[in-house]
């Protein structure tokens, strides 16, 4: 694939999207916010790696070990330049966004936070950016504070300003909500936090897959994302951190690869990023993620963002007038990514998802790992349709037809 890919040809690159889930019923995949589908290229790269190059990395002298190491580190370079990191040393491989955030909470948090220190989070966080801090709060007596979400799904910047006056140590927020689609004004939020002396962790699980994220331009101190939401395999995630901060942090997990020297009674930790990569990593998955990044680059992140914007706009037009519908999140679509979460006042989200499934339409129903946000909107659950590069307007037309069926049955 040396040529630029057209959106129309993209669907052909995803074998799963050719599948009929029941005879005559093709899959309409509208659940990429949970996990994306994978193109042939990613699967082939992982398959090839195991067929031709498999060996453990970093300490081997033999041919395969050197080749594997080079492939692994090449992928790190690709990912590093994808998010515009200053150095490959700032890209740490983890299992997923959740582990990346836990790494920061465990290593940086335990070393630098004490009773009474404040951490600012938001009401729209995924559980993965809440629970690690709950655990830390319980252990260290750290105080958690929350930027509220307004009725139209935006972060309340007035309250944020007030919270910053109490000199928090850390601000940690999602760059794009997995429920509302809200795109947080990350750059200005980070600037404001830095002026108050706080470090910033950006949960980029929903942003990095969908638009260009430049860690240097943002000036983020930490940034976390998952491979599987950006065409890559499961089991691989990334923690970006500024090198100075990472160097001053104690190790996370102990074991092989993260050490320089080990004695019976002590050890000296390795340089970053290896200090945080204990044990044999997910080598094939790292290589797969590198190829996923190639795939995204070939299409172009701006192109992807524009495509998702047009799908979201189309979906909102088609859905806004449906009977009894309440669509969560910003009405200003410039502030919203490719996620449409909604409630229908006459039917439960699980029934909506089940009826849509009869027509092969895959949406998600539930609290989407954001229970506090649903409590905020007094909804036990919502139905969520989300879009990615392989979706087209026809998918949304089918969704709307499916919703007409739901209305006929329950409305």
């Amino acid at each position: 694939m040396t040529d630029k890919l057209e959106i129309k040809q993209i669907k052909d690159e995803f074998p799963i999207l050719q599948r009929e889930i029941r005879p005559g019923i093709p899959i309409i995949y509208l659940d990429s916010t949970a996990t994306s589908q994978k193109p042939y290229a990613v699967m082939q790269a992982m398959d090839e790696y195991y067929k031709k190059s498999n060996a453990n990395i970093h300490r081997g002298i033999h041919f395969l070990a050197e080749e594997s190491t080079a492939m692994y580190e090449k992928a790190r370079e690709k990912i590093s330049s994808f998010i515009h990191a200053k150095s490959v040393r700032e890209v740490i491989f983890t299992r997923n966004t959740t582990e990346s955030i836990n790494l920061v909470a465990y290593s940086w948090g335990r070393k630098n936070l004490n009773a009474g220190d404040r951490i600012i989070l938001t009401e729209m966080e995924h559980h993965s950016n809440l629970v690690p801090w709950h655990i830390l709060a319980e252990e260290k007596g750290v105080i958690l504070e929350f930027i509220p979400v307004t009725e139209d799904g935006l972060l309340d910047m007035m309250v944020y300003e007030q919270l910053l006056r109490h000199s928090p140590k850390l601000v940690s927020f999602s760059q794009m909500s997995n429920v509302l689609g809200t795109i947080a004004p990350a750059k200005s939020m980070i600037e404001m936090a830095h002026q108050s002396g706080a470090l910033v962790l950006v949960d980029a699980a929903q942003s990095v897959p969908h638009f260009f994220v430049d860690v240097q331009d943002l000036d983020a101190d930490f940034l976390a994302f998952s491979g599987h939401k950006m065409l890559g395999p499961t089991g691989i995630g990334v923690l970006y951190g500024k090198s100075k901060i990472l160097e001053a942090m104690p190790p996370f997990l102990g074991g092989g690869d993260m050490i320089k020297k080990v004695y019976l009674s002590s050890f000296t930790p390795n340089e970053i990023p290896y200090k945080f990569e204990a044990g044999t990593p997910a080598i094939a998955e790292v290589i797969g993620l590198g190829v996923a990044v190639d795939f995204l680059n070939k299409i172009g992140m701006d192109e992807i963002a524009a495509h998702e914007f047009s799908l979201t706009e189309y979906a909102m037009q088609k859905m806004i007038g449906l009977k009894g519908i309440h669509i969560l999140g910003p009405t200003d679509l410039e502030l919203k990514g490719g996620v449409v979460s909604f409630a229908l006042d006459y039917v439960h989200p699980h029934d909506v998802a089940q009826i849509l499934d009869m027509d092969g339409i895959a949406v998600r129903a539930g609290h989407h790992c954001a229970m506090p946000l649903h409590q905020r909107f007094n909804l036990p659950a919502t139905t969520r349709a989300s879009f990615y590069i392989y979706n087209e307007k026809d998918d949304i037309d089918r969704l709307v037809l499916g919703l007409a069926k739901v209305e006929k049955m329950f409305g």
């Binding site: 039917v347 439960h348 989200p349 699980h350 029934d351 089940q354 009826i355 499934d357 009869m358 129903a365 539930g366 609290h367 229970m371 649903h374 036990p380 659950a381 049955m409 329950f410």
Partner: protein, 134 residues
């Protein structure tokens, strides 16, 4: 799959016979399915033989969980508590007249879990009560 929303289920979801509260009641129990947030409360009134003379459910949830609770309560009027303790998964599926995968089965069995917790007079419900008795 279309059978999942057979007329009986949609009808009993929209127009349940046993929705509401009973005050006074002899026992009441409330629980939820943490997976989906469905929440259900059942109030039961007994006669002096420990037979159920009336029962009502309240709360919110999907069509499967609500219709299932409604059909369950209809089926236990006149039964004593020992009989209630013997009701299992298969009985619920027969009431609903459908087959269910593991996720939706939890929805269907929420009512039974809540009723049995009340019948046993315990402060919590247990997953194994939705299994068929040995």
């Amino acid at each position: 799959m279309d059978d999942l929303y057979r007329e009986l289920i949609v009808e009993r979801y929209k127009n349940p016979y046993y929705r509401g509260n009973l005050d006074p009641h002899d026992f009441s129990f409330e629980d939820e399915n943490p997976l989906c947030g469905d929440q259900l409360r059942i109030d039961v009134r007994l006669d002096d033989q420990n037979r159920i003379v009336d029962a009502r459910f309240s709360g919110h949830g999907c069509a499967i969980s609500q219709a299932s609770a409604d059909l369950l309560l209809e089926s236990v009027i006149g039964k004593d508590l020992d009989e209630v303790k013997k009701i299992g998964k298969q009985d619920i599926l027969e009431l609903l007249g459908i087959e269910l995968g593991p996720v939706r089965l939890k929805c269907a069995l929420l009512g039974l879990k809540v009723l049995k917790a009340g019948a046993y007079g315990l402060g919590e419900s247990r997953d194994e009560w939705s299994e068929d008795p040995d």
